[in-house]
């Protein structure tokens, strides 16, 4: 069972986990080689470090910046934050799927063995929608959270229902999301008998 938290994701590891890539702590200025790596590999922490470097670009001479060109447009900033969010969303989805996988294979009503997985699942859901509200995915997770906790639905769900939830998360994670798509999948939760508007 995975227990990745957002603090882990924010501080250093996201996007820098492959091969021989060098990990750049978010609060440390990168070397120029780190900078070029981050641009190529769309690293989350690398981007933040790049942004920090650019903030002080006023004091640079033009020739210092000739090795890179980064338009400071709103679009570019949004693209970068979208990439960062996508990385975080993927990591969270993997952790959610890990718990859901176990529940889809093993969950039995009135069996306490599921509790560690259910507990972690609920914590992850809450952590995501509390911290990444601006991502439409958070809307789906919030609806799932409400549906699961109401009347302890997490206990009465069948293995098959857990499998369906897993499928939905997998599907949503692999898409560009808008609220129309999210609403479609919230409705699917409702069709599964999960009360997504219980209050």
């Amino acid at each position: 069972m995975s227990t990745t938290s957002t603090s882990d994701l924010d501080s250093e590891s996201v996007g820098n986990t492959r091969g021989d890539a060098k990990i750049i702590p978010i609060n440390q200025k990168p070397e120029s080689s780190d900078l070029s790596y981050s641009l190529d590999q769309t690293s989350y922490s690398g981007h933040t470090a790049t942004a920090k470097k650019l903030e002080s670009a006023e004091s640079f001479k033009d020739e210092d910046l000739t090795f890179l060109y980064i338009p400071k447009s709103h679009y570019e900033e949004k693209r970068r934050s979208d990439i960062a969010l996508r990385v975080i969303r993927t990591q969270f989805s993997k952790d959610l799927i890990c718990d859901l996988q176990w529940l889809a294979e093993n969950h039995e009503d009135a069996d306490s063995n599921s509790m560690p997985y259910i507990s972690n699942l609920l914590l992850l859901l809450k952590e995501y929608f509390d911290n990444y509200f601006h991502d439409p995915f958070s809307s789906f997770l919030s609806a799932l959270y409400d549906g699961l906790i109401h009347d302890s639905t997490y206990l009465s769900l069948t293995k098959n229902s857990y499998q369906r939830i897993l499928d939905y998360i997998e599907t949503l994670n692999n898409q560009d999301l808008d609220y129309k798509k999210i609403d479609k999948y919230i409705s699917k939760l409702d069709d599964l008998g999960i009360n997504v508007t219980p209050y």
Binding site: F129, H134, D135, P136, Y179, S187, N195, T197, P198, Y199
Partner: protein, 271 residues
């Protein structure tokens, strides 16, 4: 045999959408999946439930409301109507489930985001659960107002919606045409009220008849007073009107239409 088709009044629509599992299970037993509504009922649902929910969102955003507790206290002390109490109970439940600190300023922002998202979710479920019968679509222009949700600017999302909703003027209102078309039926309701009213649950019905007889100008206020009569008149012959209000017992009896009165949400939750 084809399942019975249900025309859902606003009083049943809300518990069908947003209520405890006990209430929803009751309606699952009572109703098939063929649930219908019309644009007028959608407008009533927005007026009675979505608009107050948005009002609560803006209460949370007020600068003098420094935490969740303040917002809930203000709402419970100052707003007493049935609809406003329903909104309070809904959001109290939602925020309690989040385990936010009711006395912390920082959790107020998270709370307002969750309230906004819940409003959006309700609107999504309405569209999913009910089919519009397509009757009297031009009766009220407000029924076409939509929330264009922008998570990056929630205040604007709701302000734009409220502005659009409230800007629909009398020019867009076709209530007078509807009343003219149904004049004979309205007269029948008015003429036969005394012969039908025998018990003590008729106060609401009598108020509706009084408003129908009055010479009031057409306005949203007048419309809200005669709302049940409008829904009774729109209710399709081939469907059963599902409601919780006593006034429909008389209206539907006089009009000779099929209907069923269900227990209130309070009674269902108690049971």
């Amino acid at each position: 045999m084809a399942p019975e088709k249900h025309f859902i009044d606003t009083s049943v629509m809300r518990p069908l959408i947003s209520s405890s599992s006990a209430v929803k299970q009751y309606y699952q037993r009572e109703l098939s999946n063929s649930l219908y509504y019309c644009s007028y009922i959608k407008m009533e649902f927005m007026r009675g439930f979505i608009i107050p929910a948005i009002d609560f969102y803006f209460t949370l955003k007020m600068p003098n409301i420094i935490n969740i507790s303040d917002a809930l206290s203000l709402w419970s002390q100052k707003f007493q109507s049935r609809e406003l109490k329903a909104v309070l109970s809904m959001f109290a439940g939602l925020l309690y489930s989040r385990h936010y600190d009711y006395n912390e300023l920082k959790d107020k922002e998270k709370a307002s985001q969750q309230v906004a998202d819940y409003i959006r979710r309700i609107m999504a479920i309405v569209t999913h659960k009910f089919t519009d019968v397509g009757l009297e679509t031009s009766l009220c222009a407000k029924s076409n107002s939509r929330i264009n949700f922008n998570s990056a600017d929630l205040d604007r999302t709701f302000r734009d919606f409220l502005n659009a909703y409230r800007s629909k003027s009398h020019d867009d209102c076709n209530l007078h045409l509807f009343l003219e078309r149904n004049n004979s039926k309205i007269n029948e309701i008015s003429d036969r009220q005394d012969e039908k009213v025998k018990d003590s649950n008729s106060a609401g019905f009598k108020e509706i008849v009084k408003a129908l007889r009055s010479e009031s100008d057409i306005s949203c206020k007048h419309c809200s007073k005669i709302g049940d009569a409008i829904i009774a008149l729109i209710s399709p012959e081939r469907m059963r009107l599902e409601h919780t209000d006593y006034s429909f017992d008389y209206l539907m009896m006089i009009l000779g239409k099929n209907h069923k009165r269900h227990p209130s949400e309070i009674v269902l939750n108690r049971e």
